[in-house]
Symmetry: D2
Subunit: 382 residues, 4 copies
C-alpha cells in the first residue's frame, strides 16, 4: 500500500516565484517527493534546479511532452504533475500529462478558451484522473468555514454579494506609454502569453472562485467595465453580477488602487446573516446574524466546524498564511491521489480542492467580462 | 450689526427624530434662536412643541404657507427656515419661504423632480437667498480634509472610486408581503411621500454627494441594478458609474446587508494616492501615497489643513459624531446668513455647506438610477 | 411644577475649552438655561461671556463667593452651579454653593486632598444636595452597557483588569528644561494650581473612575512608577493595582506615548468572559464569552440593555461623541435636580451620574499613586 | 564545499505539536535533511517517527546521550541537533550534543536555572559551536523591521514600553481544584517538568525576548504580581519593569484573559516616535513619528529595510504566518552552520537568530519575576 507519492513539475525553476511556493506547500505534509521536472526552457536553469533538488538527471526533461511520455511509461513514474508555467502553456502541458495517465495540479487560469477548458475536463473524467486547479485562497481554513456556515443555512438565502480584489502595484502604468507595465512580469503584459485579460484574469478570477466556493452560487451574467488606462490589457474592472438564484452583486478588481496590497475581500449577505472574509488577515471570519452583534471567528477554536477544522494546523492566534493555504490545497489533493492509487474510497475532505470544473468556470467568467467590457458593459451570459 | 439670528422650523415636532437633531446642531454655536414653527399637521403636537421651546403661540402656524407669509411680513421675522418634513413637502415648503424672502435649509432629498429642483435653484438665485441642503456627512471635518487633500493634488488624478452605504435594518422585508417594511417609517415606503426611490434616494444620494464633495468629480452616467425584493420601492442597489473625466467607479447602497449599521464608506483612488473615509468612525481618514505606508490621519492634529481644521471643535482623540456634523453644516450656513444680513462679504468657509445645486445633482442621480434600474441596468446619463 | 432649570457657571469664559463643552452638553436636552456666571477673574472676559449669552449683568459676578450668596438668596436663583475652573478652585467654589443650598456639578478632579473631598461629600449629604463630578466618559452609552453586562454576570467574577489612557501631546517635554511643558495649559504644570499630579491626576483618574463605574470593584492598593522626565509633575505612569476582591490589574497612563491621541481603553477580564471599550470609537463594545467568538456590540441595537439604551440618542451607526457623553451626564443630573425640585422620587437612571463620592475615590487614588511613586513603587493602600 | 546539512531531532514524535513545526520550518529552504532522531521515550512512537521520515533505523536512538555520542563519532554525523522535548530535558540534551561537537537549536526556555544557562553558554563558546534558542517571534520580518527602525533612531530614545501576551485557553482552571489545568499539556502543570513558572515562563518570556530583540534594551529589575488562582503554577502576571537606561514599562501575560487567542503585542515608545507590532497579524507594523499620522507598514514593500526584507518570502499582502517565522529562525541558523562548516565568514544576517545568551536572559527574567511574585511584587534585579 502506497504511503508516499512522486511528483514532477513543469515550470518553477529556482528563481521563479510561484513554483517554489508549490514545492513548499507540498513539503508541509511530507507525503510527496519531487522526482522529475521540466523547470525551464532555459537549459541551464532547468539543470540547476534538478541538481538542487537532487533529481536523477535523466528525469530532468527539456520539454513537457517528452516528460509526460517518459514518466507515463516508467514503472516508478511520477504520480502527479504540477504545472506552474506562464498561462499560455497550461493547456498543452495539462493535456500531455492527462493523455499519459498522470494526475495534474495546474496553476490558474486553467487555460485560455472555454473549448480548451471543456476538453481538459472531459479528458480527466474519461481517464479517471484527478485534476486540481490552484485557486489557493480556498485552501484557507476560514474560507472553508465560511462555506460550512453558509451550507448549514446560518445566513439564510443569499441576496447580495460584494467582493473585491484590489492591489496597487501597477498604478505607475496608468496613462504611461513606452516602458509601461514595468512591474508586471513581462509575460503578463503580453496577450499572447497571459491571455485575453490581465487584471480580471489574474485576480478577478480569484473573486469568482472564492465566492463560488463559499456560496455554491452559479453566475448567470455579468456587466463589466474594464479599464486599460492606455495599456494592452485591463488594469481595473468594476463588474455587476447576477446569479442564477436571482441575487445581484458587485465584483471589483484592480491593480491600480493605491493602499491595497493583496486585498481580496468577500462579503456575502443573506436573509438571516452575513459573512466577511479578508485575505490579508485570513485566520478570522466576521459572521453576523441579523439583529445580532458581529462575531469575530478565529481559526482553531472549538466552534469551528469539523470540515474546516480538519485543515487547521496551528492553535488559534498562531497565524497561518499563504503557504498553509497552498499546503491545504495539496493536503486534499494528495489524499485523493493516494487513496486513488490504493483503491480506497474518496471522502468529501479528500476532494476538497478546486478542480478543472472550477477552472472552466473561471475561463467562462473571464471571457464574459472581457466581452461585456468590449460592449460598454452590456450584460453577457457566463 | 446683527450677531444672532431667528429661525423657524417646518416639521420636527417633539417626538420626530431628525428635526431634533437639527435643533441641537443649531444650538452648538449659540447664534440662532428658534422663534417660529409649523412642527406638525397634528394640532396638538404642533402646539406642544411650540410650548416646549417657549415660542410665542402666534408664531406657531398650522401650515407652512401661512408661516412663510407671516414671517416674511414681520419686521422681526425669522431669518431662515429649517425644513424637516417628509420628502413630499420639501419642494412646496422651500418654495414658499423663498418666495417670501426667507433663507432656507432643507433636509435632503431636495425634492422629487429635476424640474422642481431647477426651479428652486433658480428662485434662490434670483432672490439672492441662501439655500442649504442637509447632506450632513459633508459637515465632518475629515470629509473636508479629504477634499483638501484631493484639491491640493496629493492623490493625483482620480482613476477609480469605490463607495458604499450599507445598512441592515430592513432585511426582514426581503420577500415578505403584507405588513412589510415594518421598520421603515410609514411614509418612507409610500412612493407618494418618499418619492421614486427608497434606498437610492435615502442613502445612495449620500454616496453621490459625499463623493462629489470630496472629489469635485461630475457624474456622467450610471448603470444601476435596483432590488425591491417584493416591496414597492428599492432596498438594495449596485451601481456602475462613469465620471466626466472618464474614470469609473461603483456605488453600492443597501438596507438589507446584515452587519452594517450605517456604513457609508468612500474610497477614492488616484494616480498618486488614495483616500478612505468611514462614517462610523468619522474622526480619522486613511491616506496612502503610492508605494508608501497607509497613514491614519486624526482630526485635531497639526497636519490637518486649515480649511478642515476651522470646523474642528475638540482635540484629537475626543470623538466628534453626527451632532457635530450637523452643527458644522449650520456653522457655515449661519455665518453666511449673518454676513449676508450685515452686508459683509462671504468667504469660502462661510459657503462651505451643500446648496440647492447639490440637491439638484442628487435628484438627477436618483432619477438616473431608477431609470437605469427599470431598463436592466442600461447606461443612463445623469 | 418645574419643567426647566436655571444654572450658573464658574469658569468657562468664551475662549476656554471645557466650559463651552459643558454648555453644549446642557443644551442637548433643552431643560436648563444659563442664568448667572462668574466666568473669569479677568473682568472683561467675564463681562463679554455674560453678554454673549444675554445674561442679566447683575448676575455676572466678580467672584464665586458673592455669586453663591446672591444666587442662594434670590427667589429665582440658580438651581445648580457648574464649576469649570482650574483644579485649585474646585474645593472652595463647590463648598460655597453647597453652603448656599445650591446643587453642584464640578469638573474633575473634585479637589486636592482626601480631607477636602470628604468634607464636600459630608456637606452635600447633610444639606440634601446633589453633587455631580464630571467623569464624562461614564456618560457614554456603551460604558453603561459594559456595566450592565458585568452586573448581570455575563463575564463572571472579575479576575484581571488591563486599562490605559495614553496620549502623545507632551512628548516634547521629555528631558527638556527651560520652556518645558509648552503644550500644557500653563496652570496644569503648576503644582499649586494643578495639584500633586499631572498625568495620573488628569487622565489616570479617568481610568480609575471608568473601571470602577463599569465593574463596581473597589481598589485596595496600588504600586505605581511615575516618570517626570525632568518636569515638575508626572508625565507617565505604570501602576499595578489590587482590588478588594483579590483581583489584580494594571493601569497605564501617559502623555508622552506617541501615536495615541486620547487613548482610554478599558479591558475587564472575568471567569466567564471579557469586555473591552475604546474611548476613541465609543459607540461599540467588544464582548467575549469564554470559548466563543468576540462580539462587536453597537449602540442603538435591540440587544443593548434598557438601562444603557435609555441614554442613546441616535440610531446605531450614527456616531455619538464626547459632546453626547457630556449631555448624558447632564441628562441624569438634570433629571435628578428637577425631580428633587418637584419632590418626585428619584430612579436609578436619574442618579446615573458620577458623584462627590466618586470624586473622593479619585482623590484617594491619585494620592496613593503619588505616594507609591515617591517610595519606589511600594504598595500603598487606597 | 557543503551545500546541505544533516540534522537530528530530540523529541517531536509524530503526534507532538511543536516538533512538527520545526521540521516544516527547516523544510522551507531545502537545505537540511532529517537524518537521526530520538523522538520519544516511548519506543513505538520513536520507531514510527523514524520510519515515516525514512530514517536509517540505526540512527533512531533510545536516548539522547547515546545519540549525541554516536552522531558525534560518525563521519557523516548530524551537523546540528534540534531539541523539542518538554522543558526539563533541554539542559541535559543540549549539553550532550555540545559536548560531542554538534551545533544545537533548542526550544525555549533554554533551561531552569541561571547556572545551567551560563554553563551552556560557556560550553558553546568554548567549543566554538552555534547555539540557537527558538524564540520564534523574532523570526517575523516585521519584528526585524521594528528593530531596524529603532536602531536607525527613528523613534529616538526609548522612554516607555507596554507589552503583553494574553491568551484565554486556561480560564477554566481559575479557582478549580481536582482535574484542573485540563487544557494544559500534562507536563506543563508539573513544576518538575515545566519549571518554576507556567505563564511567565511560557509566554512572558516571549515578551521579554521580543522587546529585547526589537529594542536592544537591557532589563534592570522587575516588580511582578503572579496569580495562580489555586493552581500549582502561575496563570496570570502583571509586571512593572525598569531598563538599564532608566525607562520603565509594563509587561502583562495571561492564559486566562478571555477574548485573546495568542495576543503578543509590543508597543515601544520613544522621544521621537513609537512602534506597535501585533503577533496575530504579523505582516504589518504600526509606526508613528511624533506629531504625524500613524503609518501602517507592510512586509514586502520597498520601504522595508534591507536587513528585514532579506527574510521576506512573499509579496506584500500575501500573509506569512508562524511557519515562516520558524523558517526564518532556521534560515539564519542554517546559513551560519553551513558557512561555519565551509570555513566562510559569518555575516550579521547569518547570525540573526536568538542564541543561548538570549536564552540565559530569559531564564534570568523568569527567575526574577517568580522571586518578585513571592515577595509581594518587591523589585528584584534581573
Amino acid at each position: 500500500m502506497k504511503k508516499t507519492l512522486r511528483y514532477g513539475q513543469v515550470g518553477g525553476s529556482l528563481g521563479a516565484f510561484i513554483g517554489g511556493v508549490h514545492r513548499i506547500g507540498i513539503a508541509f505534509d511530507g507525503r510527496a517527493a519531487l522526482t522529475a521536472g521540466c523547470f525551464s526552457r532555459k537549459e541551464e536553469a532547468n539543470r540547476e534546479t534538478g541538481e538542487f533538488y537532487g533529481l536523477d538527471p535523466a528525469r530532468v526533461y527539456g520539454d513537457f511532452e517528452t516528460m509526460a511520455k517518459a514518466e507515463g511509461a516508467r514503472e516508478d513514474g511520477i504520480d502527479f504533475a504540477v504545472i506552474t508555467t506562464p498561462n499560455n502553456a497550461h493547456y498543452a502541458a495539462a493535456k500531455a500529462f492527462l493523455e499519459n495517465g498522470i494526475h495534474v495540479l495546474c496553476e490558474k487560469p486553467l487555460c485560455f478558451t472555454v473549448g480548451e477548458a471543456e476538453e481538459l475536463c472531459r479528458l480527466a473524467e474519461e481517464k479517471g484522473l484527478l485534476f486540481g486547479v490552484n485557486y489557493s485562497y480556498s485552501g484557507n481554513v476560514m474560507v472553508k468555514e465560511a462555506r460550512a456556515i453558509i451550507r448549514r443555512g446560518d445566513i439564510g438565502e443569499i441576496i447580495n454579494v460584494n467582493a473585491e480584489y484590489l492591489q496597487e502595484y501597477l498604478v505607475d502604468d496608468v496613462g504611461k506609454s513606452g516602458d509601461a507595465m514595468l512591474k508586471l512580469s513581462s509575460w503578463r503584459k503580453d496577450p499572447e502569453v497571459a491571455g485575453i485579460s490581465n487584471c480580471v484574469g489574474d485576480i478577478g478570477s480569484h473573486i469568482e472562485h472564492t465566492v463560488a466556493y463559499m456560496t455554491g452560487l452559479k453566475l448567470k451574467r455579468v456587466a463589466a467595465m474594464l479599464d486599460r488606462f492606455g495599456q494592452p490589457l485591463d488594469l481595473n474592472a468594476n463588474i455587476l453580477v447576477e446569479y442564477e438564484n436571482g441575487a445581484h452583486g458587485v465584483y471589483s478588481c484592480s491593480q491600480v488602487c493605491v493602499g491595497h496590497m493583496n486585498g481580496l475581500v468577500t462579503r456575502i449577505y443573506g436573509t438571516e446573516g452575513a459573512i466577511e472574509w479578508v485575505q490579508e488577515n485570513p485566520n478570522i471570519l466576521y459572521v453576523t446574524k441579523k439583529g445580532q452583534p458581529t462575531e469575530i471567528h478565529h481559526r482553531g477554536m472549538g466552534y469551528v466546524s469539523g470540515e474546516a477544522a480538519a485543515f487547521s494546523r496551528l492553535p488559534s492566534g498562531h497565524p497561518e498564511g499563504l503557504f498553509v493555504a497552498f499546503a491545504n490545497i495539496y493536503k486534499a489533493f494528495l489524499s485523493a491521489v493516494l487513496k486513488k492509487a490504493n483503491g480506497e474510497p474518496l471522502t468529501a475532505a479528500d476532494l476538497d480542492f478546486p478542480t478543472a470544473r472550477d477552472g472552466l468556470d473561471g475561463v467562462r467568467f473571464v471571457r464574459a467580462c472581457v466581452e461585456s467590457g468590449a460592449r460598454d458593459a452590456a450584460w453577457v451570459e457566463v
